[in-house]
Assembly symmetry: C2
Homo-oligomer: 534 residues x 2
């Protein structure tokens, strides 16, 4: 704490760094981080963050600089979420699953002056320009340069020097499925408000224990590095999604919360060593609607599932499928149907800040679709939970915000009760003989087949219909099913034009967060053919 | 919702009005307000607020105008917390227990253009200048002018036109125990952030039911009109603290939360018709530290007590006595000792935003007291949870913010674990023979006597010592105790100079929120004598 009077005016601006200072003051002796055998209290975490920020300054980092971090979920990456902004710099957490050229593009585009990295990723950055300083965290027997700098630095309190809450806190690069990745800018204010909302909706309390199944480099871990700290709950680091390790940590650390895409939940629920949770666990899922089967399986383990929805551009989640008490009496199928909807604005998002609009005509004029649960439109959003813009790309920013709202590219219907339900990504929609087919709807039906573990449906070129649905399927271990059987299963449950015309059995390509990469499958089908323009 | 595109930029500012729009969208059919026999859903509440705002405009209210409301806790006052800002005006909720000249002073000072009032308070405002419009809510058979105007207005959505979140939302007048009352200005941003923090700390959920034991005109009901709505919980109105009615409503409406000064809790716990709560109730208390006896009695009823602390100038609560799991094993006395502390910054308040400082020397230089649990200093605070300033009183504002922090006038120690504990209001401290005596400490000891219901200790003039402690005591119904007995009880437990030299048995004067008015007792003791300057 300060012993002299700070110069700040009495009405102060906000920064997520505030949360760490407060939790260290109040819950200083409480466990903040569990990372393998390492356990650190909030007081220790804050002290390390002071050292870390000074280490960055000693490495030449000045306010406004970009600092990239290339590491799986570990304490250094978590602490960077505080130390980098405390040094006045901007955090750029890199996706560890990118290839070398992508890492080089991003480091170059954001103009990072320092890259902090785990030794296992050293080959990805060995060709960076000489001007980019590299700072090794350690690992693989490498010298822990960051730790050495931190040890040499003072642990005395350091004041957060960022006085403008709309200043950029971090840059998160989109996965760039079309064109080059874009740098999404988060602000101190936006991350602070989103963290408060996450803490409220997930009901994070000081007693909560949060397991890091979601990569922190993905949308800054949906702002949970700040939300969990705000609540003074415990972070349990996990470098990768390993079901055995997850079950072990849930049991040993008394985990109460974790986040993950439905594929992560499928992997857990269908694992041979699956075990029921000893205590209730709140699971927050996003990336795709969880299938009824997945919800039922996870509930049987002792989990409560809440779906949230958002994009990199919305700090991760911006809607939550808030539960209504009148749904308590529904059966499993009925409840699953409700939980499959993407929901409503989070508590810090205004009712008018998320809309479903017609995307045709003048992009500056947005017209709400009727709330009939049928008419499709594009989800658009604005407000504190939406990015400031794309870094160094004003053209893309202007295009994304046509009409004053961010255009998500997600096609949805708006139910009469105000809940959004995504039909598809606009680029995933299959147009067959002039009819739109939601790939999500077809996938749900395929997933109901007893032998199916995972599924992705994409457009396959067809001479007569233009496009027809094709299903890529992974079967459950030991289960069998033929193409004809899957198609017959669908024909009983879907109109003819929505029934897959082909089924291929294979492993599905996925992003680092476990999201299935449909564009990879689609591109394979369309190779050599002219691609549809969406 | 809007069907045309609003003009707002995509990064929007916040207002507590946002909470009502969101809850009406998501929980439109949920009960928002219970007021006697009236029950209204969130959709109905929002619709009424649209009509109410239009009714104000029809009455000539223009943006920036001040609108005063003179009513006990009832739906019109709750709805005014949304309708007045929606009309672009500033809410001034008047204390219904003030005398006519005080009401006239406040209405004149804030320059209210309209006074909305319940007929029972008509005599308080019948001499206002002709330029001040009066609008009767009804009651006592009077014409419900407000309802008539609302019925004539459209219920179509109205957009919140306040674009500056630092604009004044409301003005709350201090009780003015010294000099004239001052108008404390709350901002849209400050109230929004405080409401989020209250919702987090009280753990308000959509299932929660909040009973209005605290007057809404007191610091805008600690921002709970906005916090309860943000969580989409239910408001249960209560016009005055009536223990029988409170027990009845807790049972009938399945109340989960209420707020009140310790005197309210004492009145409940000692009432002849006291009954155990059928479900857990979270009670938030402030105004004075709850005595161990009070905590034990309330816990026996099934309540969990959390102490919070703040002033009119801090939107009500700014600290919370956050519970530490290591205190779970303490006995009742040990837990009561912890709960008697005022605590730590709320989640939206920074660690450095509340300090205990030496008040001597240059008022611009604030020096923290050591965190030793012994050294006394003044609590000072800054940030979003602190008022913008006093309305039309820049001199008082500048004085209050000497050194960049608001000076509370409360004397406290800072414990090693970061928790604040108030020793006394600076003007309540007794200086006896050069030694400071905390009146709170003496009161705690008097309250331990089996016959004592309530107690206030103040300075009594003394020729030899300057001042000595005198105790004013209310005995429990049917209990007896003599002055000598009370003094002997204290002498066994306190140093001689802290032991009251006189005891008087009487009813204690209280504010509208149940806070004991020590200055009334002190003034009686000092009548005709030169008053000490603090």
């Amino acid at each position: 704490m300060l012993t002299e009077t700070p110069k700040a005016v009495h009405l102060r601006r906000v920064s997520p760094f505030d949360f760490l200072e407060r939790s260290a003051l109040i819950f200083g002796e409480k466990t903040a981080i569990v990372d393998g055998e390492t356990r650190r209290t909030y007081a220790q975490m804050l002290e390390r963050v002071y050292r870390f920020a000074r280490a960055l300054r000693a490495s030449g980092v000045t306010p406004g600089d970009r600092v990239a971090v290339l590491a799986k979920n570990q304490s250094a990456l978590l602490e960077a979420h505080y130390a980098v902004p405390l040094a006045g710099a901007i955090l750029c957490a890199l996706n560890t699953r990118l290839v070398k050229s992508e890492i080089e593009y991003i480091v170059g585009h954001c103009g990072a002056s320092v890259v902090i990295y785990d030794a296992e990723f050293a080959p990805l950055i060995d060709d960076l320009p000489a001007g980019v300083e590299r700072l090794c965290i350690g690992g693989d027997g490498a010298v822990a340069e960051l730790a050495a700098l931190m040890a040499a630095a003072s642990n005395a309190p350091l004041e957060n020097s960022v006085s403008d809450e709309d200043a950029t806190l971090s840059i998160n690069y989109t996965s760039g499925t079309t064109g080059q990745p874009k740098g999404v800018m988060y602000t101190h204010r936006g991350a602070y408000q989103n963290a408060l909302a996450e803490a409220f909706h997930a009901n994070l309390r000081p007693e909560s224990v949060y397991l890091w199944t979601l990569p922190m480099f993905h949308c800054n871990g949906w702002c949970y590095p700040w939300a969990v700290t705000a609540a003074a709950a415990t972070h349990v680091c996990l470098p990768k999604v390993d079901p055995v390790k997850i079950f072990e940590l849930i049991e040993r650390e008394r985990v109460t919360h974790f986040c993950g895409a439905p594929t992560v939940l499928i992997a857990l629920a269908n694992h041979p060593q699956v075990q029921k949770f000893a205590r209730p666990v709140h699971v927050i899922t996003a990336g795709a609607p969880p299938a009824p089967t997945t919800i039922a399986q996870m509930e049987a383990l002792g989990a409560t599932i809440t779906q949230v929805y958002g994009l990199t551009e919305t700090y991760g989640p911006i809607t939550v499928c808030a539960w209504q008490s009148q749904w308590d009496t529904l059966d499993v199928a009925g409840r699953a149907k409700m939980k499959a909807r993407q929901g409503v604005p989070m508590i810090t998002v205004g009712a008018g800040d998320i809309r479903v609009v017609q995307t045709t005509g003048d992009p500056e004029t947005l017209v709400d679709v009727p709330r009939d649960g049928k008419t499709q439109g594009e989800i658009v959003m604005r407000g504190n939970n939406v990015m400031k813009g794309y870094y160094n790309d004003s053209a893309a920013t202007a295009k994304a915000f046509a009409g004053g709202y961010f255009h998500s590219g997600d096609v949805a219907v708006w139910h009469a009760d105000g809940y959004l339900e995504i039909q598809d990504r606009s680029k995933d929609v299959i147009i067959s003989g002039g009819e739109n087919i939601s790939t999500i709807q077809v996938e749900k039906v395929v997933l109901e087949h007893r032998a199916v573990l995972e599924c992705a449906v994409v457009a396959k070129p067809d001479e007569k219909w233009g496009e027809v649905p094709k299903a890529f399927v992974t079967l459950k271990p030991g289960a069998t099913a033929s193409e004809e059987e899957i198609i017959a299963h669908c024909r009983e449950r879907l109109p003819g034009f929505k029934t897959p015309k082909a089924v291929e059995f294979c492993d599905l390509p996925k992003t680092s967060t476990g999201k299935i990469q449909k564009f990879v499958l689609r591109e394979r089908e369309w190779r050599g053919l002219e691609k549809r323009v969406n």
